[in-house]
Each structure stands twice: as C-alpha cells, then as structure tokens.
Subunit: 337 residues, 4 copies
C-alpha cells in the first residue's frame, strides 16, 4: 500500500490529485493539508466528493507526513520551496507541482519569480518531470519538479521538431489558450463568470513565467539556445489548454517525414496521441492525454503544431500521478485511465 | 432617404445588416431576399425583432431591387457573383459580403474557391472595402468587395507593420479564434452546442480560403510578396474574433516606435482603437471597433500583435455599412455607434 | 437638454444606465459617482466605451448634483436610502434602483433587509416604478423605486392573471433563472467562471429579499393576500432572467380567454410582447422588452406563465430610463430602441 | 465475464454506456450497433476514446447478439420496440433506454408517442427500472424499461413526499432545466451553439412525453391519481438536469420531519445524496448521483424540492448499468464510482 499526502490540497490542482488518488485501491491518503481551509471537510468545499472522500483539511505540519511514500506539494510558487525543504528526510519522495524547482539557473529563477530561491541545493537535485523526456531520470528521482501546464502542451509539441532540427530554434511563436481553472480557485473580479463569458484576452504577453521554463528545456533538447515568443490567453471554458505553435522550417520536409519523426519520438509514450486532423480540446478533457498534430505549411515555409491537454490532468495532477507511478516502478498508466 | 436592399438576408450577417439599417431614420429598406426562408416573416426566424422589423423575406428577383441606392449581397461565395452580375445597372451601388470579388487574380480565385468566376470584368471593377486602407477608392466605387472576417482582424493588425517594414514579410504566423456565428446559421452536428461547449479546435490549417485574401492585400501594402501561415480555430462563444500574430522583427525597434507607427497609421480611422494592454474580445462585441495592441517581444526578436473584432459587425455587416456610408458621402460612423 | 447623474455608476447596472444615457442627444451626464473606483476613468473599468464615454468617477457629493434634472441611485440596498435622503431638494427627480424604497411596510422592510429604514417619510413618497402598472403615478412622482429584476419578470407574468382572478392567490410557485451579472460586479469564488460554467444552483430558497416585493405588489393587484414560493437560481450565462410560474387555475379557462386577458392588459405597454410560443431569453437580451407567454395546462388545472427579460435593462437600467422618460413627459420608448 | 452489446451505440447515451462498460474488467463488449454510422470506427466519431476503445459500429443484426448476457437498446422511442422484440430469446437480459416500455397503459403510450405498440406483451413483462423504487423487481427482470432523464430527476424528488402524503397530489408544478446533450447528437439549427449560447427556452409546455411517465409512477406510489404540470427547458450547458418542484403541503410539517422522511426513504440508495443546501448541478455531472434537497416554504404552504442529475448517467447510461448490476446480482455501484 502506497501512502501519499497532499500539501495545498484545497486548490483545483490539489483537489484533482486527491480525486485521482482517492479512487485507487493501492494508495492510502495519509493527509490533506491546506491553510485557509484548515479544519473544513473536503466535501464542504467540493460537494461532488460527498460520500467518496471522508477527509478534513489540516494545517501543514511536516511531522504529520513522516514516513509517507510520496508527498505532493501543490502550493503556489514561492511557498512551495519552503515546504519541500521541510519535507527532506521526512517524506520518501516529493513531487512539487509549483514552479519552484523547474528552473536550474538560479538567476533566471530569481528574475522570473521575483525572489531568490531558499534552497538552491534542492533545485540541483530536482528532476524536471516530463515523462516523455526524462522517464529514466524520474524513475531514480526523490524530488520531481512537475512541469507547468503551458510548458507541458508546448514542449510535447516542439521537442521532436527541435531534437531533429526540423525548425529554426529562434523562430518560434506560441499562442496558448487556457481554460479558467488554470488561474486557480480565486476570488477576483476579472475571473468572474460575467467578465469571462463570451470573452478572450491575452495576458503577460512575452513575459509569462513559463517562458524561461519552455526555453530552458527546449535549449537542452536542441543543444543550442532556443527562444520562443509565448502568448497565453484566457478563453471561456473551464478545463483545457489549446496550444498553436508556428515555427520556421529549417529545411524542406513533407508531412510524412514530420509524422514519422513524431511517431518515432512518442512510440513509447502512452499519453501522447498523434492525430492527422486538428485535435479537439474535448478529446482530452478529463483525461491525461496530450493530443498532437504537426502540419507542414509548405507554402509559407512554416511548421504548425497543435497540441491539447487537460490543464489540471496532463498539465498538473495527472502528470504528477504519472511521475509517482514511474518513481515507484509501477506501470505509467496506473490509475490514469 | 437612402433605399437599401439585402440579398441573402436570413443568415447571421444578412440579419445583422438588417438590424443596423432598420434602426436608421435615413434608410428605407426596399426588400429582404432569401431563398429557403422566402415567404416567412423576419420575426419568425428572429423573434428578437418582433415589433421593430415588419418585413417578410422574398425570393431574390433583381427587378424588385430596381433603383435602390444600395444593394447588399450576403450570399455564400460562389452564389454571390451571379447575383452581383444580375444587379448591374439595376442597383446604384453594390456591396458584396461574400468572397467572390476579393481576389483580383482569377487563377487564385478559381484555385481557392474551386470554381471559375462567372463575371471577371466585375472583379476588376470591385474595390476591396477595407476603409482603413482604401477609403478614397471606396468613395468612388460602385462595387465594393467587403472583406472577410478573419482578414479584417489580421490585416488591421499587420498593415502598419508591413507598410513600414517593421517585420519580415515571410515570417508571419496568424492564430485566429472565432466565435461560432462565423460559421453561419447552420444545421450541422459539429456546430451543435453539445459539440462546441468547452471545446476548441483548429480547422483548414494553412488552407483556409482567407489566406490568399490576406496575402494579396498585404503584398500590395508591403510592395513585396508576403506569405502567412494562417490557422483558424473555433472557440465556445457566439460572436467575435481574437487574432494573435507572430512576426519576426526586421530591425531593432522599441515599443514606443511601434506604437507611434500604429498611431500615425490609424489617426483618421474612427473604428480602430489602439490599446496598451491586451484587448478584450468583449470590448468590441456588438460594436464596429477593432481594438489593436502591438507588443515588441525583444528577447525573441518578434512582434506580437493582438487584434479583436466582432465578426458580424467590423467583420461583416458593420463594415458593410461603414462602406455604404463612405460610398454615399456620409460620415463614416453614421448608424454605427 | 436633460441633465442626469448616476450615483453608484461603476457596477453593472450603473454602467448600463450610463451607456443608455450617453448615447442620447437629449441628455447631458452631469456626473458619475462611485466609491471604490473614484478617480478612475470609466473606460479603465469598461474598455468597451473607450472613445465614446469620456468621464471619470468621482466620490459621491450631493452638492455636485445640485440642480440636475434626474439623479439615478444605483447603490446597494441599505446604502441607497442615505444617498436618496441627501439628494432631497438637490436633484429634481430621483430614481432609486435599490430595494430601499420598494416596500411600503417598514416592518417588512426591516425584516427583509436586516436594518431599519433611515428615512421613512421617503418610503411613503416613493412610487413603485413598474410602468405597466403605475404609469400615471410615475408621471407625477419625484421619487421612483425602480423594481427589482426578479420582481419585474414575475410581476409582469402574474399581474393580469391575479387582476382578473384567473388563479388562486396562494397557489403560486415561481422558479426564476438568472444570468450571473445579476449578482453584480463582484470578487467571489462562487461567482468565478470555473465555479459557474456548466453549473446551475438555487439559492435563498423561499427567503430571497424579492419575495415580499412580489407579494406586496400582487396583493395590491389582487385585492387580497397573495403568497408566492419564489426560488431563484443562477445559470451559466451573463445576462437575462427566465421565469417560470406555476399557479392553480381558479376557474375553467381556455387559452384564447387567457391570451385575450393578457393582450388587453398590455395593450398600451410598448415593452411587453405576448408570445404564442415559449419566449427565448436571447430574444430580449440587450433590449428593454419583456416577452411573455401564458399557457393553460388544463389537464393538471394549472396556469403556466413564462417570462423573460434582460436583468440589466428591463430588470434595472432600461426600466429606470423608461421611468425617467415617463417622469419627464417624454415618449416612454425614448432611447430604448 | 459478462458479455454485453449496445444497439444504438453512436448517440450520446449509447456512447456513454460504451465508455462505462469498456473500462470494466468484468465486462466484454460483444458488439456495438448503429445504423447511420455502421462501418465507422467508434474513435472516428468520438476521438476521446482513441487508444482505449477499439471497435467498429456494425448494422444491427439480432443474430450477432445471440447469447450475450445483456443487450442495451439505446434507440429512439418507436424504433426500440422492434429491436427489443427481435432480441427475445436471443439476449439473456434486455435494458431498453427508450420510452417504449415505460408506460403500462397502451392507450396512453399510443397517445403519447403517436403510434401503437408493436409488442404489447413485452410492455407487460417490462419492469420500470428506477432502482430506488423497484430494486427487487429489477433483480428478477429480463426486460427493464430504463427511466427517462427528466422522470428520474422528478421522481426521486417526489416519491417520498407522495408516499408519505406530505403534498397534495394534484398541486405539483415541475420546472426542469436540461443541458443540450439531452436532445441527442443532432444536426439542427436550434441546437447549434450560436442559438443556445446565452439562451434559455422552454418547450413542449405541459405536453412533453415524459409527463405521463412521471404521473403513472407517482400515481402508483401515492395510491391515487397524481397530476403534474411539467415544463422542460433548455439551458446553455452540455450535461445535467436541474429540477425544481413546487407542491402544496398537505399538512403542517417542519423541515426536520421532511428530512427524516427523505433520509429514511433513501437509506439504502447509494446514488441518492440528501443535501441541506441547494444542490449544485456540477456536483453530480460525470457521476451517477442524484443530489436532492427538500425545503419547507412554510409561509406559502409549499414544499420545494430541488434535484440534480447527470442526464447521460443517472438519467440514462449510468442508471442502465446500475440496473444491469442489480439484474446480475452484482453490487449496485459496480463500475459507477
């Protein structure tokens, strides 16, 4: 029996994790921790789980996690690093869903998140948890930095193209459209239904904190500096990210070659599905799949790649469980289908 | 008193035209024509206008339009050209909302729409009705080809940048997200609420019929061949298009310079509003405005331009009325505010 | 030229009022007042009006309204009564959109809103501003209590039936479904898009503050005590209220008789449209209409009445303008079509 | 291993059934049958199941089902009865999701559905498959008439109240609001996104085919004729039904008594959850639960009952699986949590 605990369990990602773990027969939930909701029952916040989840949020106390096999940290970036540090030597393995351990360059981290990292040694130790890229390293890791939602959709779209030199590494434009749950469970006028219904708006154009995450991973893959112009948008739906990538072709290729590159690259990846038609967001919502379709726009000399995920699953909690499975030597799909 | 008639009045664009014209004191509607709905009252199809529009659709008959000042043709591409031809010498001025007179190159037209043009002479005569580009030529025209919805949003975003040489003309990626009314009033499973709610999907990647329209206008503006990689998407909202453009900067510029170029370019354009923050789709829905914001993403060497319109107004009926105003020597904003 | 001012102009109802007044040639806006947004430009909060509304919110100061023809008070219930009191002798006429002057019984007011009224004399002076019921009294009023959104939809549905004794006065069930803008411009988790998308939930079952408003008006109409069981719900749309009424028939009637009663009752009401088919919410959104359809369900002995309005227009700002028109002797429809 | 087949598998209910059965280790799917989509792969229609469902629709042929343990018939009413008749002696047990075997009175059936029943003997044999009412009879049945979606939500709301005489049996008003998937997978203008977004509309007021189904079951429960005035509505969401019931209290009761009646009545029902607050639709979507809350509106002398279900699960496919479990002697919840 695997014992697991969730720190920051009351937000959307933390709750999705709880739902994924609660339905497994091989996992026992040792505790759910939350600050503002401490003392409240989970089904008071999320009536949907009435009768299936019988737990109460507790204030975070590392001692309460002593000996658990896996601790998930679903706190905001900036808060997570302290919790991760406090859990060293306490929890067997840690999966951090925040941005705190994704950037290996500490200067970039400080610039991106606006504060220095409190535990640089842990950054070095952390493995970036994109299973399709780092499956083997994840298997041996004790600390996994779970990728961001936007990066997951963009990286899976671009990794094969950059690994194979299909596109120019400094020609990449990424337009991502996210459902509103990506902004978390929040009390803000601009996240209210009346403001977002029938609306689309971009934000943090070119300066979103996920940009360096995307660039650092892609640069590693390409073996050369990659820059991307990343534009995130909000759209009136609850779950899911649709990412459209434009990149200049580095050489003349046809669709068959591109598809064969992608097919080979994702041959062993159970959660990546290649599509010949543009993938629909609804085809992946409530699943851990990433559906992908590369298109050669020969006339304009560009590669267009479309990629869709559920931001709370493959973009957060589902990928975290996938990482847990790999870390524990279980089949990667366990509890995710 | 201006007399106007609408051919193809029962679709969303045609009906929006009717609503715009019906509320004007200086316009008399001489007739509304529709095939499938001929014989039905307008308020039977559109209950919202009960009590304000007292008209019945009639089958199209050119003679019924004899002498009208302006005939609007809101038929599907391929059907419109015959109606426009039949109205020569019958209606004083014609505004065609279809794609039939937008492409000056007849080979490109035939390739794009899958059939030859029946009246090539009219193509030559037609003025492409983007007021912000062709105000003077529109004023003297008797046949205006009203721009497509996607092209309107993309062209207004790109014209200043290409006119001033700010971006490389073959580096352009366009991701446009359209509300569902853009697909017309149609009985199709894939346009049903249950299929589109919570969904996003791209379609006609790189091969949409609006691509040559965008390229031909931009090539004229740039004085050099422009190619774009255009990807349209459907999003779960009814009205509006949000367009995100990525283009490689041709030279080092800063935001102030770019903004000043755009500001100068649109100084006399009452329906283009430059924004310093990303424009919201809801800020333009139910209006004839195009809200625009260019951003310099210096780190990646790209210009990002965001552009939003109401697809049925600035993207169709509103722009048609704007063109009518210009053709008749009225203030451009008449009836549009 | 009519001079008008809006106190509480930054909320949805206040802003809708501003939009209605700003487009009129016969109205000059003397000021817009708001507390939290004082000092901000209107188009900073509502980018849609950029270029058409050039105003800045000011903190409320009665002196700034001295001599205006009409003051609209769009403050929350409980705050409005002080502002109305402060405007006595300052503004020519006052239209209060809050609940503060709708209940003539001060005990009921205190029980309903949880506090005593600070200016009982004004309650006595106020006319309940439902034009279809009180057109003549409104014409002579200096203080109008603009009806609530739910009451407007329910009262217009029920008044003819109760006035003519068609239904039993203590058998009435009302299920109303409101768009989210009815809850105001608010920063609350439960009003966020991610909580309301795909969701419906009732609230304040049987205890909503609009219940006594509905009952007191209907009791007056029926000449006997009327009780209703009123259940409001939130639905995932932004604007509009759909109300479904069930009431036991007091005697055998057929549809023709019921329709003739309703038709006669609303003969002079330009904003009530009787429908033979169930009215659609979209037929009235962005208009000041109330669309109504009564159905005799003879088998079960009940009258079903369906009623739809735009909660921000006929349910708030539009009706307020309608009242202003009547108070000033203008045609009732001025600026509302 | 249970063998199961689905006739009419390409619609929303049939496909939901397929998804529920495909993920079970104890069920083998012997075939999926569909007319219009025969020859197509399931994942061509429903890309979401790519990689998890490897089946192709076949034209219906009773012989292909010979020996299956359970045949599900998810055909339209009127078509289903012939398929059910053809499967007699072929499939071990049949669960009919249509309306063809729900009405025991053949005259009422003929009047309601507009045609006579082709196999009256089967109607007599069929058990109405509401587990909370007929668990024991379902266990012994070979033909189950799976309840309609609206009836499920209305019956679970009303059965305890009528069984215990809490409300007057001819005073009942039911307002139900359904997501659009309830209308099936259909190509109709009025079901298109652009027509339903932001819209609500009632239909078939007082004459919906589910009215006699509700009345006949409730009359049996009450032991006296029950009439209801049932008004269904469409709302802009995909899945779920929210039902609001008004009924006159037959005697003075308080909330505690009502809750205790409901609690006792549903003590052994794993899929009914009683709520003290108004239930949210989202709390049951994608589950087989019905969440219920009765409220005593003492002032108006009415009982208000709120009830929410997922129309495709508890309202169709989920309940069908629940019935299969009971028929086969399995725990009722198997595969539904």
């Amino acid at each position: 029996m695997i014992t697991a605990a969730i720190v920051g369990a009351s937000g959307y990602s933390g709750h999705e994790l709880l739902r994924l773990l609660a339905r497994r027969a091989d996992v026992r939930i040792a505790g759910v921790f939350a600050r503002a909701s401490a003392g409240e029952r989970v089904d008071a916040l999320y009536p949907a789980v009435t009768g299936t989840v019988d737990l109460t949020y507790a204030p975070f106390d590392p001692e309460a996690l002593r000996g658990v096999d896996v601790a998930f940290v679903a706190l905001p970036s900036g808060e997570a690093m302290s919790a991760v540090a406090a859990l060293q030597g306490v929890a067997g393995r840690i999966i951090d869903l925040s941005g705190d351990h994704r950037l290996q360059d500490l200067d970039v981290y400080a610039r991106t998140y606006g504060h220095a990292h409190v535990a640089p040694a842990l950054v070095e130790k952390a493995v970036y948890g994109l299973p399709e890229l780092h499956r083997d390293r994840i298997a041996g890791a004790t600390l996994v930095a779970n990728p961001g939602c936007y990066p997951t959709s963009a990286l899976l779209a671009l990794i094969p193209a950059l690994a194979e030199g299909l596109v120019e590494p400094t020609s990449i434009g990424i337009a991502s459209f996210s459902g509103v749950s990506g902004a978390g469970r929040s009390a803000k006028v601009e996240m209210s239904f009346a403001e977002l219904d029938g609306n689309i708006r971009a934000y943090k154009v070119g300066v979103h904190q996920h940009t360096p995450e995307i660039e650092s991973v892609l640069s590693g893959v390409a073996g050369a500096p990659v820059t991307v112009s990343f534009v995130p948008h909000l759209v009136p739906l609850t779950r899911g990210i649709h990412t459209t990538v434009h990149a200049r072709l580095a050489r003349r290729v046809d669709r068959a070659e591109v598809e064969s590159v992608y097919r080979r690259y994702y041959a062993g990846a159970p959660f990546v599905r290649l599509r010949s038609k543009p993938p629909e967001l609804r085809g992946v919502v409530h699943t851990n799949y990433c559906d992908l379709a590369p298109f050669v726009d020969a006339r304009s000399g560009q590669l267009v790649i479309l990629s869709v995920i559920d931001n709370l699953l493959k973009g957060a909690a589902g990928q975290a469980v996938q990482n847990m499975n790999i870390m524990l030597g279980l089949p990667e799909e366990t509890g995710l289908q």
